[in-house]
Symmetry: C2
Subunit: 255 residues, 2 copies
């Protein structure tokens, strides 16, 4: 099977033009099939604020009422996505910006209301690998925003880490998939303030141990849950790293 | 040659959910290859206003400084484009939302500063018909936002009427192209207040005569300039009409 690299790039790297440029330079150098999936939550929060719309988060997840859905549709699907596409085209990388609605790529189910009403938040149901493979086959580079749809005309806000793992898992039937979670740190750290404490190889047992001790916490937990799930479901390699180490392969490897 | 229908839908139809639904229902019924190109200027003006960014227009063209470029990127490329895509997918129409940067579809040149500095406004230089034909060949329906790029990483704001005519002209080497300019009136009117005064067939000579008499004015002039240019450059049929008459073919036909 051919190799496919799926790179998810998180909020802070996307926000900072210098980091984003480093990432795109590195991404450009990745050979073969590749997909970029981006977040952008903090930019959405900032623009929502300017529009007088308050951001409400529960356990790191954004409550997405209809006004906030407009904001994330604009910011994720428009501002961030199309800037990255234009920047990749300037690097002679034939990018196409997509949401889950485009080509019916990612269908999701609006999350049921239990204790919390997350609003227009979607849980991935189905990844249309046929359309993605057609694009990859034409040497096109999909750039995916964290938006899905329900097939009834509603866009839904969906976590970018989850989209990355679901896309990687579904495509692992057709490719040897290498999944990179790229953020502002050099990997999963024992001491979140010290970049010299990267855990180089992390297995599920140690993840659970570090989690119970509070060494691994906050936003890293869903990222690792997604990463281990991908690893178990056939993704060849999962690496947590920063924008500078995509080529070197340094960071935290899930084993 | 196969038939291709290119439909440009303007501001007011896009703004009003009821009109937009009628348009999308009609668009869904168009058989064969089709492309939808949308505007959305008034929504951009509204959101810019909420963000405290002032809209400056010269001869109906938007002055696009870097702040306004962010707004149109969000609104055209994100909000309007992705909503239309989700709505078409709900109608089982396999839409893909695109700007000129995606797949390097439409390159433009930033407009030179003469009397007026329009800012990040682009004049179309090149339409990548190869990529559009690949999509059409897969029964995909491109939905194009009025944004282009310069190949150096800059997105540019480009008039949707012009994008429609340029795309139609370039594709007329490969298809019999039918170009519809769809807006809120039943066609070009002798009396702009009276929908019963539609000019059914309009040639260039009469257009110039009506223009000199002030009967045809304002935003209709660039639309007709684009339309006649398309007709002269090989587009088979150009029709100015409203969302209800896409199927009937009623409206103003350029001859």
């Amino acid at each position: 099977m051919d190799k496919l690299t799926v790179i998810k790039v998180g909020g802070k790297v996307v926000e900072d033009p210098t980091s984003l440029n480093v990432l795109l330079d590195q991404f450009k150098k990745v050979s073969g099939n590749k997909i970029l999936i981006h977040g952008g939550g903090r930019i959405a929060t900032e623009i929502a604020g300017k529009l007088g719309i308050k951001t409400q988060m529960v356990d790191g997840r954004r409550i997405t009422d209809s006004e906030m859905l407009e904001v994330v549709t604009m910011v994720y699907g428009g501002l961030i996505n199309k800037r990255i596409v234009a920047d990749l085209q300037a690097r002679n990388c034939n990018a196409i910006g997509l949401t889950g609605a485009d080509l019916d790529l990612i269908r999701a189910k609006k999350r049921d209301v239990k204790d919390i009403d997350y609003g227009f938040v979607g849980d991935v149901k189905d990844v249309n690998t046929g359309e993605l493979r057609l694009l990859l086959n034409e040497n096109v580079v999909p750039v995916i925003a964290p938006l899905t749809h329900d097939g009834k005309g509603n866009l839904l806000n969906t976590n970018a880490d989850t989209i990355a793992s679901e896309v990687a898992i579904e495509l692992s039937n057709h490719f040897n998939v290498y999944l990179f979670y790229c953020f502002e740190k050099a990997g999963v750290l024992i001491d979140s303030e010290d970049e010299n404490t990267v855990i180089h190889d992390l297995d599920l047992k140690h993840f659970k141990k570090y989690q119970s001790k509070g060494i691994i916490n906050a936003g890293m937990i869903p990222k690792l849950d997604n990463g281990f799930r991908a690893k178990q479901k056939g993704v060849k390699e999962v690496l947590i790293t920063n924008q500078e180490n995509i080529a070197t392969g340094k960071g935290t490897r899930l084993i």
